[in-house]
Symmetry: none
Subunit: 402 residues, 2 copies
C-alpha cells in the first residue's frame, strides 16, 4: 500500500493535523462509554460534519501495543514493521537511538549460588536502582570500540544501548534473552541465534562481566537479566514516503522516539496539552504534517478511572476550538488503540476516528463516540488506510491509472 | 493470521461456546426473512446486549460449502485449506479418516461396449446400491497391503477409502477423475498427475478391476466412476493453534468429521438439540471450547420451507435459556453459511452473528436478524476473524508489540 501511495504523491501547501488521544476507545459502564458520558460539545459538533468511523490497528481481536498502534496510524503495516522490545524500552526512557545501536531491556535480579532467586531484585525501589545505574554509567563508557549508554527505568528496570561505530548487518540483534523466565533456574548464557549476532554477543558478554564486577556485592540487585535485544528497524522515512514535512508534538519520550524512528522531527517538550498547543501554533508555518499526542486519557483508563478518563476527554474538548482556529486542511482526531477503563489495559476494540475536510459527506454520526462512529461514512477499516485518506482529503494524491 | 495468533495465546480458565445454526442467514419473502418472522424473544434479547455483525466465510459473492464454512469459523483460511471431495464424502458417511488414507467418491454407473451409458446407473435406489456396496466390502478387504473401506451412500453414490500402512507424500492423491462427465464417452483411464500418485494409481487400478469382477453382471450398476481422490490435509490442530481443548457436539457425521480433521474430540451422538444440550452440560467442565452444531434449520431451508426454517429457529430459541444458564465467558451464535429458503441452497450472503461477553459495546442491534446485525459493532467481516475475537473476549490473547 505504501509503495502504491508513494508513486501517487503530489505536493501542495495543505496542512494535515493528526491528533492522537491515546487509548481513546472505551466500553460501557451502566450502558454508556467514557466518550458517551464525556462533556464534549465541540467534538460532537465536529463529528457531525466530519467523516467518522472506527479503525482496527492490527487485526480484529488483536490488542495493539503503542508501537504497532502508532505505526498503523502513520500508515506502516505493524506486522511487517515490528519494533523490538529493547528499542521501545530505550525510546520510552528517552534515548535517541541511531542506526548503529543495539538496544536491550535489562532487569536487576538477585542471584544465589548461580541460581536466579528473584528476577526483579525484590522490585528494588526506583530511587535505589537509579543510583546503581548511574554508577554503572560512570564506570562503563565503552566496551572495545562500542559506546555503552545506560538509562534508569522504574524499579528493577533499565535500558542499555550498545552504540557500534558502524551500522550492523540485519540479524545482529538475534540474541536469546538471558532471563530464564522463572525463579530457581540458572540464567541463560548469552547465545547468538545468527552468525551476524556473534560479534554483538561477544560485546554483551564483556558488558555483563563488567557490570557484575560493579554490582556483585549489592544486597538485592547483584545480577542482571537481559531481554529484547533489538536493532532500529530500517524503516522508510515518513517524509520520503508521503512528501510531507512532519512534526511530532508529544510530552512522553516513547512517542517522540517512535516518531523519530520514521524520521519525524520530534523536539523535547515538557508540560501538557496547553504547551502542546502553543508549540503547534509556534511551528504551524514550518511543517505540513503534525502528529499531536495527548497521553492523559489513556493513563486514567489504565488506572480503571472511568470518570477520570471522561473528564480528560472533556478537557481536550475545551482546547479544541483553539486548534480549530488554525484551520488545518485535514484534521483527524482519533486514538492509537482503545483502553476501556473496565479492562484497565489496551484492548482489541476498534478506535473511533473523525476526519474533517471540505470533502466529506458528513451528517452520518450525531456525536463522537464508539456507537455513533459505527454509523459513519468510514465504517470499520484498517488503521493503515487512514494516511491515504488524509492525503486524499488534502489533495495530495494523484489519480491511479488513466 | 493464525501464526500471529499462536504467538499471542495465553491460557486461562474461560469457556468459549460456538453455536452453529447451519444455514442461518436468509432472504425475505413478503419483505421479511426467516429470522425476521421467527418467534425468538431470547435471541433478540441476547442480540441487544451482544456484539453483532455479519461474516463472510470465503469472499463476497462466494457460496461456501460446509467444509469451507466451518473451517472459516474455526479460524482456518478456507482457500488455503481446501478439503478434497473424497475426504468430505467419506467424512459425511461417517468414516473416521486417518493421515494414511486416500478417500474417493464413487458412482455406480452403467456401461455398454466400453461406453458409459448412464453415469448414475439409473439413480439406482439406495437400498439396492447399499446391498452391492456391502457385498463389495465382504469380498474386498485388502489390495496388496492397503486396507480398503467402503461406505454406502445415497442412490448411486458410495465412498471408498484406501488406507495405506504409512503416511503418503503430498501429491499422492493427484489422480484424474475417471468420470468422463458425459454419457456416450469412454471412462477416463486411471491417470496419475504427479510421480507421487503413481503408487496410489496402481492400487486404484487393481481395486477397480476387483470391483468390476464382482459387479459386471449387475443389470444397471455394472461399472464404477471414481472422483475427488484426496488426502486428509496436514492441517494444524485446533488445540495446538489456540491452546483450547475443544469438544464437537454434532449429530451429523460430516460435521464431526470436519471437527476431527482439526483434532477436535467429536464423540458420536444421536438425537436432536435436546441430546446436544444434555451432552454439552455433561461435558462442560472438561473442555475450554465447545462447537455445537444445529442442523435442522439448514435442512428446512434446503427444502425451500420458509416457515419451517423459521419454526426451527424458534425451537432453538426456546432451548437458549438453558444454554445461557451455563454462563459461558464467550458465547457466539451464528451459521456456517446462509441458506435462503427461496434459493433452496447454500448462498453467498453474509451470515448473522452475535458474540456475547462482558467486553462488548452492545445496544447497536435491536434483534437477531440480517438487517439488525448490519448495524452491529462488528459490521461485515471475514469469518476467519471470529476466532481471534472469541479469544480476545475470553482474555486469551496477549498484547501485540509493546
Amino acid at each position: 500500500m505504501q509503495k502504491l501511495i508513494k508513486d501517487l504523491i503530489q505536493k501542495n501547501n495543505t496542512k494535515i493535523l493528526l491528533i492522537v488521544l491515546d487509548g481513546l476507545g472505551g466500553l460501557p459502564v451502566n450502558g454508556k462509554t467514557e466518550l458517551e458520558i464525556a462533556n464534549k460539545p465541540n467534538l460532537d459538533a465536529l463529528a457531525k460534519k466530519s467523516a467518522c468511523g472506527l479503525h482496527i490497528p492490527v487485526a480484529m481481536g488483536i490488542t495493539p501495543g503503542s508501537g504497532p498502534g502508532h505505526l498503523s496510524l502513520f500508515g506502516y503495516d505493524p506486522v511487517e514493521w515490528q519494533i523490538g522490545r529493547g528499542v521501545l524500552e530505550a525510546l520510552g526512557l528517552g534515548i535517541e537511538l541511531k542506526k548503529t545501536d543495539i538496544a536491550i531491556r535489562v532487569n536487576y535480579a538477585t542471584i544465589e549460588n548461580g541460581i536466579v532467586k528473584d528476577r526483579r531484585a525484590g522490585r528494588i525501589p526506583t530511587n535505589e536502582s537509579r543510583k546503581i545505574t548511574e554508577r554503572l554509567q560512570k564506570k562503563i563508557k565503552k566496551i572495545d570500540n562500542v559506546e555503552i549508554i545506560f538509562r534508569p527505568g522504574m524499579e528493577h528496570r533499565f535500558a542499555a544501548v550498545l552504540r557500534f561505530p558502524k551500522p550492523l548487518p540485519k540479524g545482529s540483534a538475534s540474541i536469546k534473552d538471558t532471563d530464564p523466565q522463572k525463579e530457581g533456574k540458572r540464567p541463560v548464557p548469552v547465545t547468538s541465534e545468527t552468525p551476524q549476532a556473534e560479534k554483538v554477543a561477544k560485546v554483551v558478554e564483556k558488558l555483563i562481566s563488567s557490570i557484575l564486577d560493579i554490582i556483585k556485592n549489592e544486597p538485592a540487585a547483584n545480577f542482571i537479566l537481559l531481554r529484547g535485544f533489538s536493532q532500529v528497524p530500517d524503516i522508510p522515512h515518513f517524509e520520503e514516503v508521503y512528501g510531507l514535512k512532519p512534526l511530532c508534538i508529544a510530552i512522553y519520550p516513547m512517542y517522540r522516539g517512535l516518531a523519530r524512528l520514521i524520521g519525524m522531527n520530534a523536539p523535547t517538550l515538557k508540560g501538557d496539552i496547553r504547551e502542546e498547543i502553543d508549540f503547534l501554533k509556534k511551528n504551524y508555518a514550518d511543517y505540513d504534517f503534525f502528529f499531536l499526542h495527548v497521553k492523559k486519557i489513556d493513563s486514567y483508563a489504565e488506572d480503571g478511572n472511568f470518570k477520570g478518563k471522561a473528564l480528560k476527554i472533556g478537557e481536550f474538548d475545551s482546547a479544541l476550538p483553539e486548534i480549530l482556529n488554525l484551520n488545518p486542511d485535514v484534521l483527524i482526531i482519533t486514538g492509537d488503540h482503545s483502553t476501556p477503563s473496565v479492562l484497565k489495559s489496551h484492548s482489541w476494540h476498534p478506535v473511533p476516528v473523525l476526519l474533517n475536510s471540505p470533502y466529506v459527506l458528513g451528517n452520518t454520526s450525531k456525536a463522537f463516540s464508539e456507537r455513533e462512529c459505527l454509523k459513519g461514512e468510514f465504517s470499520i477499516f484498517p488503521t493503515v488506510n487512514l494516511m491515504p485518506l488524509a492525503l486524499a482529503n488534502a489533495g495530495r494524491l494523484k489519480k491511479f491509472g488513466a
